[in-house]
């Protein structure tokens, strides 16, 4: 009795401990985390052919084995733009080879070694050297291969078959534990309790119950082995086994854009090119909210002018013979028209009378001057008298000439500034009222925009004007009025840069920044789509052929962009073109 107790008790304790620790020890063996030492994860859908992908900061590469060739698709990593003129050198099992561009934008690498490979190989390791427009990158590429034979068993399971039974049991248990299966935990707890029971019974010196407990323990262990086997064979939730049911290896047409079970959207490269999906790497920044104001184009007040007649009169063409037409370029000071003021009948008789008087006086003074000239050499008339008479005659003649000139000389209308005739109201013979605008001159290179704003805008804020045809013009703030007009403040901006095709009075939409600053990611308006449940989502490009819908909170930013305030991390590749089409994939 005593020897049994002294030796068997520690042994039983050891067995109990070992039973308890076994499931955990299995995790020790495979504790090397951080990367995958096996084949790449096979596709999770039946209608996706096996493939491989690689990416660097510049490129994104997808390879699809098809028959005796490997089809490669190369895109820019950041934008998703296809690259069709790159040089692809591939390190294959048969030495280095070059992939040739195909008309559809892909690259084709003849791969006779695909047919002669070991049927057990489920992946292929290649090294691709990509040279495209000055960028060079070396990409390691692991391509999953369709299983040629023995499709029922995956490599992992086959390896597990010939392991030791204890190893298999522990692995099965550890898998159950990692799968949060309550059965495995119960088994461990049961073992512990049984060990304790065996200990207690042995200490009490009863042999038969100890044996009963040991038999119970053995049953439990065998049962656990049985369900470990079960886990291997049934395996509804083991992706590596499920991946064995992939379709025919050469069937490239099997690739369909589809929504996967995890919510991501799988879009094969050819479809991506068809939908012309483009992405943008988003960066966080501070943006000013903009308001849009109705506005119209006005001439720059310092580079435009009007030509008005100061007196009423009859319009006549300038000395050049014709009135300037609309659109004629004029220089400052150039004569544009003549205005002949009409003479009233009463004025006319008055003038005639005055004219007669002057003529009479001139005749008298003329005679006096003649007489003085004869007498002055003899000294009978002083030189002073002669000079006075001559001056008087000159003055009278001047007055007579001025009277004539006043009757016939018209007012010349000249251009106050250089520019182009924007408006012309001159017709020969027309009577112009005093102050009437005859011509408007505008410098087409110097135009302003006047908008009506309900908010006070910051003087330094930048603004743009959008035209009906989609063009936008940068604007520089010039000033704002203080007096309300139509319950809004007139704000004036100068148009920076080219003003071709603009006309005065044209309506524009002014987008002016307010002083409220917001932080977030600015994205084109077209990148945000509304999902079926009414949420705003953007599509993130998470892998070469996978897109994930990310719900976002957006705020309006300006005409073309929205501000994403939450939902997307900076550095994410977000679809900015074709998001609407991507959203239709079911």
């Amino acid at each position: 009795m005593v020897p049994f107790r002294s030796t068997a008790a520690p042994r039983a304790r050891a067995v109990a401990l070992a039973l308890l620790a076994l499931p955990f020890l299995a995790t020790l063996a495979s504790a090397h985390e951080g990367h995958d030492h096996g084949a790449p994860p096979p596709p999770v859908s039946k209608t996706i052919a096996p493939r491989g992908e690689a990416a660097s900061a510049a490129f994104e590469l997808v390879a699809i084995p098809g028959g005796d060739a490997l089809v490669l698709y190369l895109d820019r990593f950041a934008t998703g733009e296809p690259i069709t003129d790159a040089l692809l050198e591939v390190e294959t099992p048969a030495g280095p080879a070059t992939a040739h561009p195909a008309p559809d934008g892909s690259y084709r690498l003849p791969a006779p070694w695909l047919a002669t490979r070991d049927p057990k190989d489920d992946h292929l390791d290649l090294v691709v050297t990509v040279t495209a427009s000055g960028d060079l990158d070396v990409l390691p590429l692991t391509v999953a291969l369709p299983r040629a034979a023995d499709p029922a068993r995956s490599g992992h399971a086959a390896e597990r078959q010939d392991g030791h039974w204890l190893h298999r049991l522990t692995e099965g248990l550890s898998e159950r534990l990692s799968a949060r299966d309550p059965g495995a935990g119960l088994a461990a707890a049961g073992g512990f309790v049984l060990g304790l029971a065996a200990m207690g019974l042995m200490r009490a010196g009863r042999r038969a119950p100890v044996l009963a407990v040991l038999v119970l323990a053995a049953t439990l262990v065998l049962g656990a082995t049985a369900f470990a086997h079960d886990a291997q064979r049934g395996s509804v939730d083991h992706p590596e086994v499920r991946a064995a049911f992939v379709p025919k290896p050469t069937d490239l047409a099997a690739d369909l854009a589809q929504r996967l079970a995890d919510g991501a959207v799988f879009v094969p490269k050819p479809t991506q090119r068809l939908l012309s999906l483009r992405t943008q790497v988003v960066a966080e920044g501070a943006f000013r909210r903009t308001v849009s104001l109705p506005g119209r184009i006005i001439p720059d007040p310092n580079a435009s002018g009007v030509v008005q007649s100061s007196v009423g009169g009859r319009l006549a063409p300038p000395p050049s013979g014709t009135f300037p037409r609309l659109g004629t370029r004029v220089r400052p000071g150039e004569a544009l028209a003549l205005v002949t003021p009409p003479v009233q009948r009463v004025d006319l008789s008055d003038m005639r009378q005055r004219q007669g008087e002057l003529d009479q006086q001139i005749a008298i003074v003329q005679r006096r001057v003649d007489r003085y000239q004869k007498l002055s050499p003899s000294g009978a008339v002083s030189q002073v008298q002669l000079d006075e008479a001559q001056d008087e005659l000159k003055g009278l003649k001047d007055r007579r000439t001025a009277l004539d000139r006043l009757r016939q000389e018209p007012e010349v209308l000249t251009a106050p500034v250089g520019g182009v005739i924007a408006e012309a109201a001159a017709v020969a013979g027309q009577m112009a009222a005093p102050g009437q605008m005859v011509f408007q001159i505008v410098d087409p290179d110097r135009l302003w925009v006047e908008g009506l704003s309900f908010d006070a805008l910051m003087p330094a804020s930048d603004a743009t004007a959008r035209l009906a045809d989609g063009r936008s013009l940068p604007l520089a703030y010039q000033g704002a009025g203080l007096a309300d007009r139509n319950q809004a403040i007139p704000v004036q901006f100068a148009i920076q840069g080219g003003t071709e095709g603009l006309r005065v009075g044209q309506f524009v939409t002014v987008l002016a920044a307010t002083d409220a600053e917001q932080r977030g990611l600015a994205l084109p308006r077209a990148s945000v789509v509304r999902s079926a449940n009414g949420q705003d989502v953007v599509y993130a490009h998470i892998a070469a052929e996978r897109y994930e819908a990310k719900p976002v909170r957006v705020a309006p930013l300006d005409g073309a962009r929205v501000l994403v305030e939450a939902g997307v991390e900076p550095g994410t590749r977000v679809v900015v073109q074709g998001a609407e089409l991507l959203d239709q994939v079911r």
Partner: protein
């Protein structure tokens, strides 16, 4: 007795938590080169002037004999790819480049094991 049993039980439960200490392999390896994963192996790349040396380790960081291995290194030197064939030499795979490799050239090393399976590691 019961106390000792409880201590042992606690130990057995605590053990798996220590097991998750991952074998991190960033930075430089024991030969002073850069480390990368290549399929089931870890590889260390040492470039000295024109000489390229690659050491192969298994998942537990134990050296693997290079006998039976083949290798190719494609390294970017001055904007051009340099292809270097590696052959087993002593405890490593070694090769000679046509041009001098700068410090830490980026590129990819592909090794083919004795079983014919290729694996590649990327060095940035």
């Amino acid at each position: 007795m019961l106390q000792r049993l409880l201590t042992a039980g606690t130990l057995a439960i605590a053990l798996p938590f220590c097991a998750h200490q991952a074998c991190a392999h960033e930075g430089t390896g024991e030969k002073g080169g850069r480390l990368a994963d290549a399929g089931p192996y870890h590889i260390e790349l040492v470039t000295r002037d024109r000489r390229v040396e690659v050491w192969v380790y298994d998942a537990q960081e134990k050296p693997v004999s290079p006998a039976g291995f083949k290798g190719t290194a494609i390294l970017v030197v001055g904007g051009k790819p340099a292809r270097i064939v590696l052959a087993p030499a002593e405890a490593r795979l070694a090769g000679e480049a046509a041009v001098a490799l700068g410090t830490n050239p980026k590129g990819v090393v592909q090794i083919t094991g004795p079983d014919g399976a290729a694996a590649s590691g990327k060095f940035n």
